[in-house]
């Protein structure tokens, strides 16, 4: 089957790739572009490990087709934080021991950033519901939520 040529932007960088019509954005990121920071946990939009932003909206990249990326702005975990400085959310996840195995962490960090851009001052309940699409099997979420709430406070310019 002929492949489709796609021009897109990933983390602000103009990117081109060829993909088959059935390839998901997640397939393209991981297998064609070797951006393996985005993880696959289910392939059905239930676990959130593959969370990315698509034109600013938080999506599961396993539910987006590669061809849909044409002309879009994609944001992945690789675009969060600078080379020499972690993003506040990344720092807080480490500080609060909010990860154990770490497989859900990239997705959770992408989702947390999306949450705090939308709602800089979430209640604990709002944070829990916004992140309900990101499954973590190790932590019981306690330390994740603490990291999210602490990140929000720092990002708002609080203590």
């Amino acid at each position: 089957m002929a492949k489709t040529h796609v021009s897109t932007s990933i983390n602000g960088e103009a990117t081109e790739f060829l993909c088959e019509p059935g390839d998901t954005l997640l397939d393209v990121l991981r297998n064609d572009l070797q951006m393996t920071g985005t993880k696959e946990g289910c392939g059905s939009g239930d676990c959130g490990a593959c969370s990315v932003t698509f034109n600013g909206a938080l999506v599961c990249s396993c539910l987006v087709l590669g061809v849909e990326a044409q002309g879009a702005e994609i944001g992945t975990i690789e675009g969060i934080g600078d080379n020499d400085k972690l993003h506040v959310i990344q720092e807080k996840f480490l500080e609060h021991a909010a990860l154990q195995c770490g497989i859900c962490t990239p997705g959770l960090i992408v989702s947390t950033k999306a949450l705090l851009e939308k709602n800089p001052d979430p209640t604990e309940t709002e944070a829990r519901y916004y992140l309900a699409g990101n499954l973590c099997r190790c932590t019981g979420y306690d330390k994740i939520i603490r990291a999210v709430m602490d990140s929000a406070e720092v990002m708002r310019g609080g203590a």
Binding site: G81, L86, G102, R137
Partner: protein, 749 residues
């Protein structure tokens, strides 16, 4: 060890050394490796729960231009025939091989039948439909009760129940029957004023790690084959794979990737031997990654169980007799965790008269695998429920009843040894004094409490600490880091060497770099591998003393070492660790410490949990309102990650108690093979999980460590089950307390 000991680094919650890679997406997990020329493997799985395989025709698949190799069980047979057939434990190797690829029977929905390697993942998946399999359907056996019936269809014609004095005359689905006892059970019940007896059921539940099984392999005909995979133990992957394929251990190198959760489920091989066969046949590196439905239908759930618990006590609360019966589903091949269920069931309590009988039963479900304290949650659920009911019948506070009978140093266990120093009493007292237990139960809510016991294990760990010429070092260990253990290793080495943890880099070495290390499991890593890290670091210190002594022309005994500095007790000389390392070239070469140990003396960890729930009387939905987990860590090396283990274990247990279960149709086909329908807890389902870390040191570890990873999943089943029962004024005998079941209890009484 001295309880008054002060630590410089132990007990701080440092930033984990692998943290940067894990929050930036750089960490490489099982599915993240690509090799040049790599192709993709996929597995064809049985759509039937129980069937004879009459034929497998792969000719069409082999003819497909994108398909480079096809594998079936026949490929294993060809490889194995020389070595395995005659070897010790051959039957277990055959079970393992037959689980990786079915022989003449499909034994569960999802059982691997054949495998294909093709140029792309999609081509491999599509080509599976070209394999033609002829099945003869057999009636599926889907639960222990049916499986144990005299006229049940038999899964394995050559399986005769072990554990009876005389070998049974006919094959059955009961692999093993066991009984453990002490004292006189009848006399014990005769002494009792109150006796409680109930029957319980727990569902088939999955470990639910978020990372599916994955590997990338390369077969090398002449030299060394390689497996990169997500596993809790790469040395055991090497052993299992080598056995299935009849290979020498030295011809197979296994590299553990980062691991995205395991909880016991990543201690067995599914894909690796198949992938190596595909690689051998195609001459190409092969990558295999399971999809989520494959993880559910074909990898280790934990055993569903049917249990009976009977307990008797005097009016003053003294427990006089405990009796248990349990039948655990092994899945399609023998080997459920029934035995640890028997051993742990009543261990939290001191009682002279105890009898527990257990059965390991095969059914047409995927082969069960270890799941966090394997076997204990089911058995202790039954026991803790009747202990709570006993407290109620006696009019006693459930913590007071437990305190009166709590196991302590010297308590005789049913499995042999007497307990050494343990922390159950301390956990119960902490629970009683906790803000949660002291708080009032809100109107309409239910509160539950339960204890939990797990042995923990030690085992073999190999560690080398290599010092660099600038005084920094590398901790080379063989225990895959599943939840932050690198941080603990770093801190323990830092404590011995007296230098900041950040100067030491822990790495998980492959099977060529270190001697054998047992898998990360049994809550053993911080205890046993930690012990090896301490010993290897002490060896470095001893060598540093010798080098300094040589420089000062004194004996090593005349050299003190503290806070990273060697001092000459016969003079004023001092040399830092970094200075000794820098001059190592002149004093005899570089410095490294090694410890290859078999750690003994793992300390059991007890826990006590408290839970308040609210139950929606119209829908049967249960909300966890407040939850507290209390557990003895011996010594918490990294307190934040210890808390994390308590919280994570509690929430897995909450999921098991409230929602998680395999649902099968009448043909034995799993219906809820995804995270939408097999519902593990979400952030929105839970409150914060309060923790109290109790520290009753384990005398057999230099720093007092007990494993903490597993115990936390044991108490939630009875804690939540009892709380739900109180909220709806019913007896909960069957888990999970999912809305339909709870609603039925409410409506039917």
């Amino acid at each position: 060890m001295s309880e008054a000991r002060e630590f410089k680094y132990i007990g701080q919650s440092t930033i984990r050394p692998d943290g940067y890679d894990k929050v930036t997406g750089r960490a490489a997990y099982g599915a993240d490796l690509t090799l040049p020329g790599m192709i993709w493997g996929r597995i064809l799985r049985s759509p039937h729960a129980h069937a004879n395989i009459l034929s497998i025709d792969t000719t069409k698949a082999e003819a497909h231009p994108d398909v480079l190799a096809v594998a079936t069980y026949a490929d294993f047979v060809e490889l194995q025939s020389k070595s395995v057939a005659a070897s010790e434990g051959a039957a277990d190797v055959l079970d393992l091989a037959r689980n990786c690829l079915a022989d003449d029977k499909a034994l569960y929905h999802g059982h691997a039948i054949a495998a294909i390697a093709a140029r792309t993942e999609r081509a491999a998946k599509d080509a599976l439909s070209l394999i033609e399999v002829k099945y003869e359907l057999l009636p599926p056996v889907m639960d222990v009760e049916d499986a144990m019936k005299d006229d049940a269809p038999v899964l394995h014609a050559d399986m005769f129940t072990a554990g009876y004095e005389e070998r049974p005359s006919k094959a059955s689905n009961i692999a093993v029957r066991t009984e453990m006892k002490m004292g006189d059970i009848d006399a014990g019940f005769a002494e009792a004023d109150v006796i409680i007896e109930r029957e319980f059921r727990t569902p088939t539940a999955h470990q639910g790690y978020i990372e599916p099984h994955a590997c990338t392999v390369r077969y090398d005909e002449d030299g060394q084959s390689m497996i990169w995979c997500s596993t809790q133990g790469h040395f055991d992957v090497r052993t299992s794979t080598a056995k299935v394929l009849g290979m020498d251990l030295g011809k197979l190198k296994v590299i553990a990737s980062e691991i995205g959760g395991g909880f016991g489920g990543k201690t067995v091989v599914y894909l690796e031997p198949v992938a190596l066969v595909l690689s051998k046949k195609s001459g190409r590196p092969v990558k295999m990654v399971m999809e989520r439905d494959e993880v559910f239908i074909a990898t280790g759930p934990t055993s569903a169980a049917k249990l009976r618990a009977k307990i008797g006590a005097k009016k003053d609360g003294t427990i006089t007799a405990c009796q248990g019966w349990m039948a655990y589903e092994a899945g399609a091949f023998k080997g459920s965790p029934m035995m640890p269920g028997v051993m742990t069931m009543f261990t939290p309590y001191e009682c002279a008269n105890v009898t527990v009988e257990g059965f390991d039963v095969v059914v047409n479900k995927s082969k069960s695998a270890a799941y966090r304290a394997p076997g204990a949650p089911q058995a202790e659920y039954a026991a803790e429920m009747v202990v709570n009911e006993l407290a109620e019948a006696l009019g006693m506070d459930p913590i007071d009843l437990r305190l009166k009978n709590a196991a302590k140093a010297g308590t005789q266990t049913i499995y042999g040894p007497k307990l050494k120093t343990v922390g159950l009493v301390e956990c119960l007292e902490a629970a009683k004094n906790s803000p949660h237990y002291q708080s009032a139960i809100a109107e309409g809510n239910g509160r539950g409490i339960a204890a939990g016991f797990w042995f923990n294990i030690g085992g073999q760990s190999s560690v080398t600490v290599n010092m660099n010429p600038d005084g920094t070092g590398t901790i080379v260990e063989g225990s895959p880091d599943i939840g932050g253990s690198r941080a603990s290793m770093q801190m323990m080495a830092a404590e011995v060497l007296g230098i900041a943890p950040s100067n030491l880099n822990p790495i998980i070495a492959d099977t060529e770099t270190l001697p054998y290390s047992a898998s990360t499991g049994g809550s053993r890593t911080t205890f046993a591998t930690g012990m090896a890290v301490i010993e290897a670091s002490e060896s470095v210190v001893a060598q540093v003393k010798q080098r300094a002594a040589a420089v000062w022309n004194v004996t090593a005994e005349q050299v003190d070492y503290a806070d990273g500095v060697a001092s000459n007790t016969a003079g004023d000389d001092k040399l830092t660790l970094a200075e000794v390392c820098k001059s190592a070239e002149q004093t005899g070469g570089q410095i490294s410490g090694m410890a290859n140990i078999n750690a003994r003396g793992a300390g059991p960890s007890f826990a006590v949990h408290i839970c308040d729930v609210f139950v929606d009387q119209d829908t049967g939905k249960v909300d966890v309102i407040r939850y507290t987990a209390i557990q003895d860590a011996g010594k918490a090396i990294h307190p934040a990650y210890v808390e994390g283990q308590l919280q994570g274990g509690a929430v897995q247990g909450i999921g098991w108690a409230l929602n998680e279960e395999y649902i099968f149709d009448e043909n034995g086909v799993m219906e809820n093979q995804g995270f939408l329908d097999y519902r593990i807890p979400l952030a929105s389902d839970l409150p914060m999980i309060e923790t109290i870390v109790v520290e009753v040191p384990n005398a057999f570890h230099p720093y007092g460590v007990r494993g903490v990873g597993e115990t936390g999943i044991i108490p939630p089943l009875a804690t939540v089950g009892w709380a739900v029962g109180k909220a709806i004024d019913r007896k909960v005998e069957e888990l999970p307390c999912s809305p339909p079941r709870v609603l039925a209890l409410i409506q039917n009484g």
